[in-house]
């Protein structure tokens, strides 16, 4: 079995659950002996200046950072071929953010070329045969990406196409129509999760088209499966649920000096993108109520996002600015450290198709309080659960965890044990059996 996978982000550049899921799933498929060709939009380097260099006319494209990463990953994953496609697409990127990134590149390049007036076309298009020629808006970029994917796919041999989230659906459809191979789209989130009722019609249309063109849809939870069925008009029999897993190896190292760095002050942790979908304002409202009962507690908000400034302001308005700390986006060792400090992890998401982060928290021995409006709440029993809007109950539960050590202990012990059953191997095996069923049905009947 060979899979052409249209995915996102490989370590160490992982900004959220989508990248974690793609990597976890692919790695597990590799271990199960499945050959995967993984098409990856080239990860945008954290510093934009690198991009400027790469874009300069006449410069040989060198993407050393990316090379080494994918080579390292390839070394580890014997059955996986990683093919990067140069693209400005990023998971969770909005149309506006894309525009910003694109304009930054143009501006930087103009500066580098010493103020000489060039037209946009001269700067980015067709100057270098091997160079990237990003499209000027995200929608066009998605289609340009699809064209690149097709170019790549025709040179590859595979049985199934597997596309992750809407930005790769057009690529998946294009590859499917050229090669005639069956298409699986994997729904990690929908426009309704990201934007509530204020959906972006164009994105919705792309999602809908992708889902309808697909031969099979994989949803990360029953919650998401319901959304796919009710909001996108898909027949139930076409949608399978494959819950995500969590990588245990990450946590195995940290079991040392946990208690030693504890102070008297309790820490309640929010870790995730600070966006509408993640419910940061409910976290703050609950914090306010908690602080009306107990004082020796700090609320740490780790992450960044389009609601960051608004959230900082809100903490100040609530009069709890001195009790809420914003760390910005954390990665690697900093994530580990913040988990080590935390007494409780809270995920107050308004809409969470799955939510791998609570599993990671449990992996790090931190008990979790999750919103009932999350996919992970379907499968996790040793967690506290609350409706995201019920800030009173959220505060009630936070206080209980901070106050009653036996509660924290029982949640942690059982949770840490339970989390071991969420394995990527199982998720991968389920995907593979879905491929199998699909291929069986695709065979001509005699």
């Amino acid at each position: 079995m060979k899979v052409f996978m249209l995915g996102w982000e490989f370590p160490p550049f992982i900004s959220g659950g989508l990248g974690t899921a793609c990597y976890g799933l692919t790695k597990a498929m590799n271990d199960l002996g499945i050959e995967v060709t993984f098409a990856l939009p080239k990860v945008v380097d954290p510093s934009h200046s690198t991009h400027v260099k790469m874009l300069s006319p006449g410069t040989v494209i060198k993407n050393t950072v990316m090379r080494t990463t994918s080579e390292e990953v390839e070394d580890e994953l014997k059955n996986v071929k990683i093919k990067t496609i140069q693209s400005l697409l990023e998971p969770y990127g909005s149309v506006e953010e894309y525009q910003h990134r694109y304009e930054d590149i143009l501006r930087n390049k103009r500066m580098e070329l010493g103020g000489i007036e060039f037209t946009e076309e001269m700067l980015v298009e067709g100057k270098n045969a091997n160079g990237p020629d990003y499209a000027g808006d995200m929608y066009s970029e998605i289609h340009r990406y699809a064209a690149c994917a097709v170019k790549l796919a025709v040179r590859e041999d595979f049985d199934v196409i597997h596309a992750h989230d809407w930005m790769t659906y057009p690529a998946g459809m294009a590859v499917a129509s050229i090669t005639g191979k069956p298409l699986v789209v994997h729904v990690h989130s929908t426009e309704f999760d990201r934007s509530g009722e204020h959906v972006n019609q164009r994105i919705y249309d792309i999602e809908r088209k992708g889902m309808h063109s697909a031969d099979k849809i994989i949803a990360v939870s029953h919650l998401t499966r319901n959304t796919v069925i009710t909001r996108y008009g898909i027949l139930g029999e076409k949608v399978e649920v494959v819950h995500n897993g969590v990588d245990r190896s990450v946590a195995a190292k940290i079991e040392t000096s946990r208690a030693s760095i504890k102070s008297e002050e309790k820490i309640v942790l929010f870790l995730g993108r600070i966006t509408m979908q993640k419910g940061p304002e409910y976290f703050l409202q609950a914090a306010k109520k908690v602080l009306s009962v107990i004082d020796n507690v700090k609320f740490v908000m780790a992450g960044s996002g389009d609601m960051m400034h608004r959230t900082i302001e809100m903490a100040a308005e609530l009069g709890i600015g001195n009790k809420v700390l914003f760390t910005g986006f954390l990665r690697g060792d900093d994530v580990r450290k913040v988990y080590e400090m935390a007494d409780l992890y809270v995920m107050p998401s308004v809409s969470e198709p799955f939510g791998i982060a609570p599993l990671e928290a449990l992996n790090h021995d931190v008990p979790v309080l999750i919103s009932k409006q999350s996919g992970v709440s379907e499968v996790l029993t040793h967690a506290l659960k609350v409706d995201f809007w019920d800030v009173q109950e959220m505060a009630n539960k936070i206080i209980a965890v901070l106050r009653y050590h036996p509660l924290q202990m029982t949640l942690r012990e059982h949770g840490n044990f339970e989390v071991r059953k969420f394995k990527w191997e199982d998720a991968a095996a389920k995907c593979i059996s879905i491929y199998g069923d699909m291929l069986l049905r695709a065979q001509p009947a005699y």
């Binding site: 029993t381 040793h382 029982t410």
Partner: protein, 403 residues
Amino acid sequence: MPSVCFYFQVHQPFRLKHYTVFDNSSSYFDEFKNASICRKVADKCYLPANRLLLDLIRRFEGRFKISYSITGVLLEQLNKYCPEVMSTFDALARTGCVEFLAETYYHSLSFLYSHDEFANQVAKHVEQIEYLFGTKPRVFRNTELIYNNDLAKKIESMGIFDGIITEGADHILGDRSCNFVYSPPECEKVKLLLKNYALSDDIAFRFSNQGWQEYPLFANKFAGWINKFNGNGQVINLFMDYETFGEHQWQDTGIFEFLNHLPEEVLKHEDNNFKTPSEVLEAYEPVGTVDVPHVISWADEERDLSAWLGNAMQSNALHEVYRLEELIREAKDERLTADWRRLQTSDHFYYMCTKYFNDGDVHKYFSPYDSPYDSYINYMNVLSNLKERLAEPKPGTTAVATV
């Protein structure tokens, strides 16, 4: 021989309200929920089962006998929410074929934490049963059939009991049979009646299980199993929750039909009879001593305390509630005492059990909470309010200084 001895456990706890750390009310129990559950169970079980048993007792003219243990907390609720159930129990009591057993009024685990409190609750229950049904109980059953040698000694020292009912757990009997009367070590008077868990659970748990090889179970088949013990058993102790009839096993499973035909099928064999626990103790001499140094119960596979004391939350909650004993006694406040005692009902701790939580089994079925964690949080919030009330100076004892 053998005698068939039926004992039904009848109990409903006072369930707590949803109570957050922000609540400050001194009324902790969910009147609405308790009333509606009580009425529902009365309609499905207590009323139809009482009616049927009354009818059977009359039909067999003294040859069919049963026993009950009804907790004080249920009696209070029945009195308030379903008085008609009380009158049917009263009618059963007046047949003379029904024995009422004693237990802790609050269906508590007090024996494990305070022998004083335990004795008080047993005395309160004995008094209540005598008041309602006119006879003093002579046989004791502890909450969830929790038992060990110390309990036997404690019951013996109380001087009013002839026997104790407990679980016929394999590990206390070894290769001996549970179908005989036994004695506890170092006791002169009290004897033991041990539950035949295999036959009891055939009715209580397996009756409607279509995957069970004996399904469907009819009264004649069951009576046949009892007949097998002819000549090698004194008594078959069938002990179960009363809610088995109509509530755990719904009416449409045929459970009432089964019960309706059982006496006639059992009595077809002329050596068989029905006896109440006291009659069994009078009729048969103990065949040996059963030594139970460690605590047993009738719960789950393990037959131990892990359903109430299996995790840190449970032991913490129990410890915290019994820690208040002295303060409660000093406070001499009737309402505080009643609230404190209702908080001792074992169900509160059962809801906190995490043992089988993943599998969604019986523990989940009986719990009004979404999770054991929610139940612990709720309980601790209530307990914390009770502590605050205890710490408040009593009205009348302060104010003096201001004169």
